[in-house]
């Protein structure tokens, strides 16, 4: 097994307590529109499969986030 140092943290080891037949995978989160696709790859970047699809909670644009942000409601304390 040969890993790039940068890849090391992305790798999950399959199985515990076994030192032989060690399988290594990468899991990449790929943003797609309002979704996040979790893709399973080998350490050589070969596609294995899609393991998870979930809503991307950061799908709002900056403009949308600003619109939802609101403001401190303090007008009643500053009348005159």
């Amino acid at each position: 097994m040969c890993l790039d140092l940068d890849d090391y943290d992305k790798i999950e080891y399959d199985g515990t307590g076994s030192h032989d037949n060690l399988c290594t995978y990468k899991f990449i989160i790929y943003p797609f529109d309002k979704y996040e696709i979790k893709i399973k790859l080998t350490s050589n970047n070969e596609f294995i499969g899609i393991t998870e699809v979930k809503i991307n909670k950061n799908f709002l644009s900056y403009r949308e986030k600003q619109a939802l942000k609101g403001h401190h409601d303090v007008e009643e304390f500053y009348k005159e």
Partner: protein, 212 residues
């Protein structure tokens, strides 16, 4: 720095100007029928000492400009030490506790305090933008303070027509329009004004959610 030391010979967004009358049009109700002789409206005209240019720089011209009168600040601002320290803090986003005096904050229920704290940094007093004190602006007394700060209210913007208002590149230093200019904001202050007024006129959250 809030104001430029050297003013450009052109009108810019946020400039303080003098010499522009301001008119309020008051109607008792919408005029839906034209057969009446008495439409029951009135127009109140005043000459504010100073106004602020609120037309974006690139849109100034065509003999028309949007102005807001520069008015005195509210004395209640001095109840809040964060504002009293620097009144232009009102122009920027702030923490929930900074938006209230310590006394008013302590009067809030714990649950309400937590709700506000969870919202994080935001604008407060959304329709106001404070203009820093300057020797060109008249002093006045307010709640025991001698004040030279002024403010504009984004809810109070009027349109003025004047044939002398031209594209910035066509204006000359000797033009009456340029003579009317009293103060020019720095790029930083103008940017803060642009950010706050843009936020004031932003798309409401409920519209955005309905659109989605």
């Amino acid at each position: 720095m809030f104001y430029e030391k050297e003013m450009e010979p052109t009108l810019r967004f946020g400039d303080v100007v003098r010499g522009y009358i301001s008119a309020d049009i008051i109607i008792k109700q919408p005029i839906l029928f034209h057969e009446k002789d008495d439409y029951n409206y009135k127009i109140e005209i005043e000459l504010p000492r100073y106004s602020v240019v609120l037309t974006p720089c690139c849109s100034i011209g065509d003999s028309v400009i949007a102005l807001a009168p520069l008015v005195r600040i509210l004395g209640d601002f001095f109840n809040n030490p964060y504002f009293e320290k620097d009144l232009t803090n009102i122009n920027r986003e702030m923490e929930p506790q900074q938006a209230l005096s310590p006394e008013n904050w302590s009067k809030l229920q714990k649950q309400e305090q937590n709700r506000r704290l969870s919202e994080g940094k935001r604008y407060a007093l959304l329709n106001y933008f404070i203009y820093m004190q300057n020797d060109n602006l008249e002093k006045y007394a307010l709640k025991g303070h001698e004040v030279q700060y002024y403010m504009i209210n984004f809810k109070d913007i009027r349109r003025i027509k004047c044939p002398l208002i031209q594209r910035p590149e066509k204006m000359r230093r000797e033009d009456a329009i340029i003579q009317s200019k009293a103060l020019q904001l720095t790029i930083t202050a103008r940017s803060e004004l642009r950010d706050k007024i843009a936020y004031f006129f932003r798309e409401p959250a409920e519209d955005k959610l309905l659109e989605d």
